[in-house]
């Protein structure tokens, strides 16, 4: 039995249960997100009859009798709630639709048999309203994905949303900014600590290692709670700052950006330290001594010898920290203020509070794509490291 490049039947049978399980409970959910983000059948569901005949219309001439007949049939057949959703949606696209439709619905209910729509309201002569329905009939839309990026489809193509409606781009920038800062802090604290960890021996290394591993194994929730206690008004941190700075007033820390950054750095630091440490420990100890014996000052030796060698560890640690930080949800929810919430909390809000699954899926899809791209980079890098 030597290593092989193809799966035998026996091996495949062993892997199959997992493949099926993940296909059902991991791939299908992600596919559902992708389809929910681009599907839009509110209008198509409400106008099945019209959907069948409107394609034969040229879009400029007055509506054909077949279209009018189909619309009347749809008004009579479609359930009230489904029609209400569709009309609300059409009204956001062309104002006046709701009033026109309400009037038409009443008239159609009163009449029996065929109805002449322009005689109820002459606006039905206008192709604009028919075109509104037609443009909303296709079951797929880029509306939510564009909305996730604060874009919309206007008359001149894709355009930016008005500033008072655009929040997502700001939240994406905030998420990236906070993640980048956390990554930077982790690298700045983690590199010297990993170097220390690599040169110490005996019980000192045991203690330092325990200080890295114990927090890493501890629940993020528990650490959030600890930071809640430390950062609160008149808490431990406020006391330390007061003693160090001599300031009389308390600096607010809880529910601020500073607090979120401190706690996120604390959560992610062990991953950065271990990532750098794993590279440093593989480096021959004599290297730094050789650099010193050849006359390099400590700083020069660090810059020209140690830093380049440690770089793969720093980069893979940074990718891991950045990728994980992008998805943070409970820590900013517990320790941050309203302006410190990351993209995940918007996804959760749209889904849980507003039941707006389309927008939640679209935002989630953008987050997923970014995260998976970084994960792919990380995997390539750690593959290359492992092969060395």
């Amino acid at each position: 039995m030597t290593g092989s490049r193809t799966l035998g039947i026996r091996a495949f049978a062993l892997v199959l249960p997992l493949i099926l399980f993940l296909a059902l409970f991991f791939v299908w959910p992600l596919v559902s997100i992708a389809t929910t983000a681009v599907s839009d059948n509110e209008v198509a569901r409400a106008f099945p009859n019209l959907g069948r005949v409107i394609d034969e219309w040229d879009g400029v001439s007055p509506p054909t009798p077949a279209m009018q007949e189909a619309l009347v049939a749809d008004i009579r057949e479609t359930a009230q709630t489904a029609m209400g959703d569709a009309v609300r949606r059409l009204n956001t696209q062309t104002s006046g639709f709701r009033s026109l439709f309400g009037r038409t619905q009443q008239a159609v209910e009163r009449a029996e048999g065929a109805v002449d729509l322009p005689s109820i309201d002459e606006r039905w002569e206008d192709p604009v309203f028919w075109n509104t329905i037609r443009s909303a009939l296709p079951p797929y839309t880029t509306r939510f994905l564009l909305g996730a990026l604060d874009l919309q489809r206007g008359e001149a193509g894709v355009e930016a949303m008005p500033p008072d409606q655009s929040v997502h781009r700001q939240v994406f920038l905030r998420t990236i900014g906070i993640s980048a800062l956390v990554t930077l802090f982790c690298a700045l604290i983690g590199l010297p600590f990993a170097m220390l960890l690599a040169v110490t021996t005996g019980w000192v290394r045991q203690v330092l290692m325990a200080a890295v591993l114990l927090p890493m194994w501890t629940s993020v929730l528990v650490r959030c709670m600890a930071w809640l206690i430390i950062l609160q008004k008149d808490g431990v941190m406020a006391e330390i700052i007061r003693t160090l700075s001599g300031l009389r007033e308390a600096v607010p820390l809880l529910f601020t950006r500073t607090g979120v950054l401190i706690a996120m750095t604390h959560v992610m630091l062990p991953f950065m330290i271990l990532s750098i440490y794993s590279v440093l420990i593989a480096m021959p100890k004599s290297l730094m001594m050789a650099a010193a014996s050849m006359g390099a000052r400590p700083l020069a030796a660090f810059r020209t010898v140690l830093l380049p060698l440690a770089m793969p560890g720093i980069v893979s640690g940074a990718l891991l920290v950045f990728m994980t930080s992008l998805g943070f949800y409970i820590l900013p929810a517990l320790l941050g203020g309203g302006d410190d919430q990351l993209i995940s909390s918007f996804v959760a809000n749209y889904a849980i509070r507003q039941a707006n699954w389309s927008l939640a899926s679209a935002l989630g899809l953008v987050l997923l794509i970014v995260t998976v791209a970084i994960f792919a980079l990380y995997q390539r890098l750690s593959d290359r490291l492992a092969r060395r």
Binding site: G3, R5, L22, F26, W28, P215, M225, V236, L367, Q379
Partner: protein, 259 residues
Amino acid sequence: MGVIKFAWGLVCVIFLMGPLLVILPIAFNAGSFMVLPIEGWSLRWFTVLFTDPAWRLSIWNSLIVGVASSALATVLGTLAALGLRGHFGLPMTLTRIAFLLPMATPAVVLGVGMQLVYARIGLSSSYAGVIVGHAVLSIPLTILSVAAALASVDRTAERAAASLGAAPPKVLWLVTLPMALPGIVTGFVFAFANSLDEVVLTIFLAGPNQRTLAQQMFLQLRDNLSPAIAAAAFSFIIATVCVGVTGLWLRHRNAARSR
């Protein structure tokens, strides 16, 4: 130079460990608030934790979901690790990466997707749904740990058993699995710890009856800060230390045995 190094190490250790140490006194606080210094020592919040119906239900739920999801993840992960064992090349790398992807997917995204699927297949707000969700997140951990254990299993022992007439299933059952057992147990323990810890996916999948301990802590932290949360957190830390020590001991024993 030595002083600076020492000071830097000390500051980092305090930063890393301090938050864990802060929890300990608060859990034994006699007063009703989560503030330091505490008013006096007592076990009253542990009594609340283990007698209050909401906390008790959440503890039971965590144990049920934890054991069931870890068992599921361990079985699936062990089978897959056995199947993938000894295979190399690009297809294998891709397969492995595909199995590790759940680890990289943001929990909120997976939560939204699973809720969409559960609504369709009728698993919303059910134990089965929560268990399956936690298992998806734990599978990478079990695969990694079993694959690492299998990599160190000596193939000559298996070949010896086969040459003495043992059928492949017998070799697997009597030779391979016992030798990989520490890795399988480690995988189970990590999966259990992971499930115990999981909040975000649970928020999406669990109904009020499936509320887990971690979720209960999250809700309490958001709404009212009772030291009962600290008592729960203290129990978490003790459990963590036990799990960590068990893991290290298993690895140590494994290393000592293969030496």
